[in-house]
């Protein structure tokens, strides 16, 4: 039988933080008790991380597309949420947090022993919370990661292709990478620090987005037709809900209601603010007008960048992660994309890929042992290793999955459907 405590210790974001906080847990086998306060915070965190995706991400993205494609974006986000829920329950959680028979295999994948959540009972405890809550919390991470990718191929991909690709990607890319970092896999062993998912969630989604948009090709009329965001009020609301929900994402990754959760929340706030201001100032200087799209994008860039670092750095460190992230992502979205010529519709790579990499690397630099003893062993080298492995794996496997999807359903809508708008063409609906 699997040992619930060992599983619990392996199965978590903010792992090192917790080992530091509860050293005793690592040594004894006494069943840990449930703490109602910790559980309350994790229930709340779960709710607000779900809110990041629906409606948060849906609004953030749908405000940026043209009016004829807005419902398609909302529906993709919502359908991914539903599909990942069922897949996570059936197999995703097991692949990420189950225990493979051999230790060699377990370094890479978590096994199929926990399919349909087998083995979880009313007494199962992860850390100091019921395992049901831990499953739910992790599920919300599994939901948002594929949903992030849709920004890269918005306004041109078939709905059937989206569903097929995302289902495969969850099981073949997300779940294993999640296992490597949080499920006791080889990246955790290598000392890669990722408090709340900079690598697992953001670099992962950012790179996948880049691959998809390159393989799909640009939108019709890209570069000549005006594709300005149709309603940035939606994007404002989306960015705001992402920000608020990110407290659950980052402070929730402490898996406890304690000082680590507190500093993680504060760092999240400071980095988001720093990056938002940085993007705004750069735009103000360069383009003479600070834009709403700019400051909102900047905030998200900062949130992405602080994700791996939230429970490891001090607030000043958070500021120094946020500001460069805002500038780097501005550069990526405004210049790199133009130079390289790919059409990453809503800058998934520019914000999540680049912001995630900036954050992952700076975590190695700014980790402060006074905040979290686990930060002591932080090294830039380990961080680079973690980033590199993820980029390569995701890049390659995403390509393969897209080829499979293309063979089965095709990837792009027809020219006429693209012209008409995906809302009407694919869903028979329009926004008035």
């Amino acid at each position: 039988m699997r040992n619930p405590i060992k599983t619990a210790l392996r199965a978590a974001p903010g792992l090192a933080a917790l080992l530091a906080a509860f050293p005793a847990l690592a040594q004894t086998d006494a069943p840990p008790a449930i703490d109602t306060g910790d559980t309350a915070w994790m229930l709340t965190s779960t709710a607000i991380v779900l809110m990041m995706t629906i409606p948060g991400l849906g609004l953030f993205y749908s405000g940026m597309v043209r009016k004829k494609n807005v419902l398609d974006v909302c529906m993709q986000v919502f359908a991914i949420c539903a599909m990942v829920t069922v897949l996570w329950m059936i197999a995703g959680y097991s692949i990420a947090f189950g225990t493979a028979a051999s230790e060699g295999i377990n370094a890479f994948i978590g096994g199929f022993d926990r399919m349909f959540l087998a083995g979880t009972t009313m007494e199962s405890v992860s850390y100091t919370i019921p395992e049901w809550v831990f499953i739910m919390f992790q599920m919300t991470f599994a939901i948002i990661t594929p949903a992030l990718i849709i920004g890269a191929f918005a306004e041109r991909m078939k709905f059937s292709a989206v569903m097929l690709f995302m289902g495969l990607w969850l099981l073949v890319v997300y779940a294993p990478v999640c296992h490597w970092v949080w499920g006791g896999g080889f990246l955790a062993s290598a000392g890669v620090l990722d408090f709340a998912g900079g690598t697992v969630v953001h670099i992962n989604a950012g790179v996948a987005g880049l691959v998809v948009c390159v393989m799909l090709g640009r939108r019709r009329g890209y570069g000549s037709v005006n594709m300005a965001p149709h309603n940035l009020v939606l994007t404002f609301v989306g960015a705001a809900l992402l920000w608020v929900g990110w407290f659950g994402f980052n402070a929730g990754s402490a898996v406890a209601s304690n000082a680590i959760a507190g500093i993680a929340m504060l760092n999240t706030q400071v980095a988001a603010a720093g990056a938002a201001l940085a993007w705004m100032v750069v735009e103000w200087v360069v383009l003479k007008k600070p834009s709403a799209l700019g400051i909102l994008s900047g905030a998200v860039a900062g949130l992405v960048a602080i994700t791996p670092a939230a429970g490891f750095v001090n607030p000043t460190g958070a500021l120094w992660i946020g500001v460069p992230a805002g500038i780097a992502c501005y550069y990526a979205a405004a210049h790199l994309k133009k130079t390289l010529g790919y059409d990453d519709s809503l800058d998934v790579f520019g914000v999540h890929g680049v912001g995630g990499i900036v954050g992952a690397l700076l975590t190695g630099i700014f980790a402060d042992p006074a905040i979290n003893a686990a930060g002591e062993g932080a090294s830039l080298g380990a961080q680079i290793y973690g980033v590199a492995v993820t980029v390569v794996y995701t890049g390659v496997v995403t390509t393969v999955l897209l080829l499979v999807t293309k063979a089965l359903t095709g990837l792009r809508v027809s020219d006429q459907e693209e012209e008409e708008g995906l809302d009407l063409a694919l869903h028979g609906e329009t926004v008035q």
Partner: protein, 112 residues
């Protein structure tokens, strides 16, 4: 009868409507159009993409009036809508063969 079509700057609408009421106009139609002309549009930049928006929002006013009213009406519009800056707009006059008031089936000048 004539159809007078005037294209003006949006913020002048209320003033022009008042001037027209004063000039005795009792009915008209207003619609929003995008104008293209000497007045240049603006540039939109977002995340590296840059587009020139050539069109400028304008208001179109349409009035059908008896022949002898046309000059007064055109003067009222032009006098009120003029700012002297590019983009003030135009007035066009077309001939109208027939007018009918749906409610009463009145025809011609009586229908206006």
């Amino acid at each position: 009868m004539k159809l007078i079509i005037a294209v003006i700057k949006p913020f002048k609408l209320e003033a022009v409507r008042e001037a027209l009421t004063t000039a005795g106009v009792q009915g008209l139609m207003v619609s929003e159009v995008k104008g293209y002309g000497r007045q240049s549009g603006h540039t939109e930049i977002y995340r590296g993409a840059e587009y020139t928006v050539n069109f400028v929002p304008k208001i179109r006013i349409e009035i059908v009036a008896a022949d002898d009213q046309v000059d007064r009406i055109a003067d009222a519009i032009a006098g009120t809508a003029r700012t002297g800056k590019i983009g003030d707009g135009k007035i066009f006059v077309l001939d109208v063969q027939q007018a009918i008031r749906i409610r009463t089936d009145e025809r011609g000048d009586d229908a206006l």
